[in-house]
């Protein structure tokens, strides 16, 4: 419990630094457990308010229950929801059968780029965690992207104590990562501690499977699991050695490094 409050304090501090320094701030929300914890932490930081828009890059292939959940919370928590979509790629028939990395690039990376271009956001808050996969382990809390959205991981700015990179040249933007120090187990422990509403796709609903990570329906696969409560999920995760994103097809090979260098989340 104390460790969760320490994580919360750091994330809240990062949120408040972001809000202070960026005039045009947006936060990505995929309705997954991580970005929903992120949303909850924003409400913590701003005392029940979320003073910036929530951005959802809709690939059109999301599981329908995710969209229902998104619209319900947006209503109940009075969120400013902005949905973006790469309509051109979808009209041209982009889907995962054309290649998983190609599909992710077109519908997610480029979908996000289009949204950023249209709205001119200079700071984007994301729920990526260092323990998810190895390129994210090397991220900064405040991570600059150039005008093409590229991540220059060879030359990242120093990040000393709690002094973050909050100034940047025109036409570039900063990715802000308040959840970097959280693990998958911490996320579930916090959901339990704060009683945060989450999608029941994460639970075994009787068929012996559950989703451990949520994404597009064609590329996200449930795992075998009997966990039907948050406590059981935590217990299951403590015992497992299987990577969290093993059900995410785009992570195969060098997929993630290539995707993230070009601006993937």
């Amino acid at each position: 419990m104390r460790h969760l409050r320490q994580l919360e304090d750091q994330s809240v501090y990062i949120f408040r630094e972001a809000y202070k320094h960026f005039d045009n701030l947006g936060m990505l929300w995929s309705m997954g457990k991580d970005s929903t914890v992120l949303l909850w932490l924003a409400r913590k930081a701003f005392f029940g308010h979320v003073p910036f828009p929530l951005l959802h890059v809709d690939t059109s292939y999301k599981i329908p229950a995710m969209i229902e959940y998104r619209d319900r919370l947006a209503r109940e928590w009075r969120l400013n929801l902005v949905v973006g979509q790469n309509k051109k790629a979808l009209a041209e028939g982009m889907n995962h059968e054309k290649g998983r990395v190609e599909c992710c690039t077109a519908l997610k990376t480029n979908g996000l780029k289009l949204l950023l271009e249209e709205k001119g956001y200079t700071g984007i808050i994301l729920g990526v965690r260092a323990d998810e996969e190895s390129t994210r382990a090397k991220e900064r809390y405040f991570s600059p992207r150039d005008k093409n959205n590229d991540w220059d991981f060879r030359d990242q700015p120093p990040e000393l104590w709690d002094q973050f990179k909050t100034s940047f040249p025109p036409n570039t933007h900063i990715r802000i990562h308040p959840l970097l120090d959280w693990t998958e187990i911490n996320i579930w422990e916090y959901i339990k501690l704060e009683n945060i509403p989450f999608l029941d796709l994460y639970l075994n609903r009787g068929d012996g499977t559950r989703y451990r990570s949520l994404g597009c329906a064609p590329c996200t696969f449930p795992i075998k699991s009997t966990a039907s409560t948050v406590d059981e999920i935590i217990e299951e995760l403590r015992a497992t050695n299987v990577a969290e994103r093993s059900g995410r097809a785009q992570d195969e090979g060098r997929g993630m490094e290539l995707l993230r260098k070009d601006g993937y989340m």
């Binding site: 460790h3 919360e8 408040r16 202070k20 930081a45 701003f46 382990a137 700015p157 120093p158 693990t183």
Partner: protein
């Protein structure tokens, strides 16, 4: 592959968490140690080792544990860690984030970024190579970054046939070095990460080592809790008004604060009482906060305060000055010099500064020797003893007293380019007046009407407009004009000519006592400003050229007055007959104005732009700033 997977230590409930950094010279085996630690505690994802092994076989190279964490293609190809990686594992009830910091000199900024997040460090030394420059540099940086808990691992003992004498020599040399930094290593452990000796299990090859394994040594690092026992420091981060509440936010960096506490804001010297602690989804609301917590408070009165101030109790105030001495490490792309303006960021305060002096470059190899320094720059990756002078006073502490408010970073262009720890406060010219103002403000007896109340009533904040420049340039004429125009609008304005003090308040003064004349003027101005008035004044009486008394240069006059009326806003207007740029920095400057009405309008516009004048006055003044 050896594993000693047991089910208890990794799965028990977490009681705390700790960030640990692994540092050491390049090729001394940091990533290998990390890989071995994870493999031997059964914390790696299933199939990860096999997957990397398969890639190695395919590429025809020997498997190395380091490949588990060197994520980037270039890191694996070159066999070096480029950037710091956070990795996680849980052991014996504690959640660890282990930060693998690159050892290569070129990536020192990444090493520093990693170490700055850590509470404790494992410092690796290669048994074959012994203590290197980089080992010393890392030791120095760790002590500057505030990482006081260090365990030294003498790695690659297998390459020296596990000889105790080799280990003992390295231990002796490095302990002697660390002692100069006042660092005592928790343990010095002989190990071989590659072979698994003394990492997770005791080594059969080194029975002479009676201390812990690396894994066991982690449990001996203490979580920081003593910060709560120090005096309160609470740097103000932001002020929110999303609803009826006006909430001041920030992170308590040391000590505790309670509902009902009287808090002092530095450097503004304002004070107020904590009315509530605000929190979302916390029932009942908290009544106390302590070091480490991000909190929100409301106050018993609506005072003007800004991000950057440090809140404390009156019994233990931070230092205030424009100038301090510090040990600084520089990571910038271009060298640090004494001409370039930088931004100093100290806790949440950000202000422009210059380097006033570079005293010496600290040589990591020989800490006690001053290196003769003739060039006036600090190059990338160097550590230097410097004096920093900021454009405005800021509140801070000495690093030895308070960690977070005793350190700062310098921003060059867009980048955080260096960091430093404050070793000494340097009193500046305004020191005496600043102490006077501080003591006067703390003892000030306040009525029930606040400055904010007065601002709402009069339609402007209390402020001072100072007209500066040579004699006979129309300053008095302009002052009268501005006063008349503002009074016509219904504002509360007063023109105070310093001459008016001369035969009365200053009657006992010698003609040459310029500083005392200015001090008295400043105190009168401060009094009038407390009534909520917008004060307009010329400074002719303080000009050296004015025959009757010796004056002071204009910039010193302005700084002295600013210090005494602080934190009321001061607008400086420079007037002259010359077209040359003013010799002193001013908010506005005019050259021999012919149309004084237009000039007066310019002054009014600047007052609005600075948020001193509200758009309208009366019951509902509209301010361009939040009250």
């Amino acid at each position: 592959m050896a594993t000693c997977k047991t089910d208890t230590p990794a799965t028990v409930d977490v009681r705390d968490r700790m960030n640990i950094v692994i540092v050491g010279s390049v090729d001394h085996g940091k990533s290998t140690l990390l890989g071995r630690l994870y493999a031997d505690t059964g914390t790696l994802p299933e199939g990860k080792v096999e997957k990397i092994q398969a890639i190695c076989t395919q590429q025809g190279k020997e498997f190395e544990y380091a490949f588990l964490f060197d994520a980037f293609l270039e890191e694996q190809q070159q066999g070096v860690t480029i950037d710091t990686a956070r990795t996680f594992f849980q052991w014996a009830g504690r959640q660890y984030i282990i930060i693998d910091a690159p050892g290569h000199k070129e990536f020192l900024k990444n090493m520093v970024s990693g170490a700055a997040r850590a509470e404790a460090a494992l410092l690796l030394i290669d048994a074959l190579e012994g203590v290197r420059d980089q080992s010393k540099r890392h030791g120095l940086l760790l002590s500057m970054l505030g990482v006081k808990q260090v365990t030294v691992v003498v790695n690659k003992m297998d390459l020296v046939d596990y000889r105790q004498e080799t280990f003992a020599l390295i231990e002796k040399e490095y302990r002697a070095f660390l002692s100069q930094l006042d660092v005592t290593p928790r343990f010095v452990i002989p190990a071989s990460a590659k072979r698994g000796d003394n990492i997770a299990t005791p080594s059969p090859h080194m029975p002479w080592h009676t201390g812990p394994t690396v894994l066991e040594s982690l449990a001996e690092f203490m979580s920081e809790s003593e910060k709560a026992e120090q005096p309160l420091r609470f740097p103000l981060q932001d002020v929110y008004k999303f609803d009826a509440r006006r909430i001041l936010t920030g992170r308590v960096t040391s000590g505790r604060l309670n509902v009902g506490d009287q808090l002092i804001f530095s450097p503004s010297n304002k004070s107020a009482v904590v009315q509530t602690l605000e929190a979302f989804n916390v029932e009942p609301p908290p009544t106390q906060a302590q070091a480490g917590q991000s909190v929100g408070i409301t106050l018993d009165e609506q005072i003007f305060v800004e991000r950057g101030e440090i809140l404390s109790h009156e019994g233990s105030l931070p230092l205030v000055s424009t100038t301090f001495r510090a040990n600084l490490f520089w990571l910038g792309r271009r060298p640090l010099d004494m001409e370039t303006p930088y931004l100093v960021r100290l806790a949440t305060h950000e202000v422009e500064c210059r380097v006033a002096a570079i005293h010496r470059i600290v040589d990591a190899d020989n800490l006690s020797l001053d290196r003769q320094q003739t060039n006036a720059v600090v190059k990338r990756n160097e550590v230097a003893d410097v004096t920093i002078q900021a454009k405005a006073p800021l509140a801070f502490d000495l690093y030895t007293d308070f960690e977070t408010t005793g350190r700062f970073v310098l921003v060059d262009d867009y980048d955080v380019s260096g960091g430093g720890i404050i070793t000494e406060m340097v009193p500046d010219r305004e020191e005496t007046l600043r102490i006077e103002a501080r003591q006067r403000d703390f003892a000030w007896v306040k009525g029930d009407v606040t400055l904010a109340d007065r601002a709402k009533h009069y339609g402007h904040r209390a402020a001072l407009v100072l007209l500066i420049g040579p004699d006979t340039t129309g300053k008095t004429f302009l002052a009268k004009k501005v006063e008349s125009m503002l009074v016509a609008e219904g504002r509360h304005v007063y023109m105070l000519d310093p001459e008016n003090l001369r035969r009365g308040l200053d009657a006992d003064l010698q003609e040459g006592d310029a500083r005392e004349t200015i001090r008295r003027y400043g105190e009168v101005a401060r009094l009038l400003i407390d009534t909520g008035v917008l004060l307009i004044s010329t400074t002719n009486s303080f000009n050296p050229s004015t025959g009757l008394r010796a004056g002071l240069p204009a910039d010193q006059v302005v700084e002295a007055i600013r210090t005494l009326v602080h934190p009321a806003p001061v607008l400086t207007v420079y007037m002259s007959q010359e077209t040359a740029p003013p010799p002193i920095e001013a908010d506005l400057s005019f050259t021999g104005p012919e149309d004084f009405t237009r000039t007066a309008h310019d002054v009014l516009a600047a007052l609005k732009q600075k948020g001193i004048l509200a758009e309208t006055i009366g019951n509902q003044p509209v301010f361009q700033f939040s009250i």
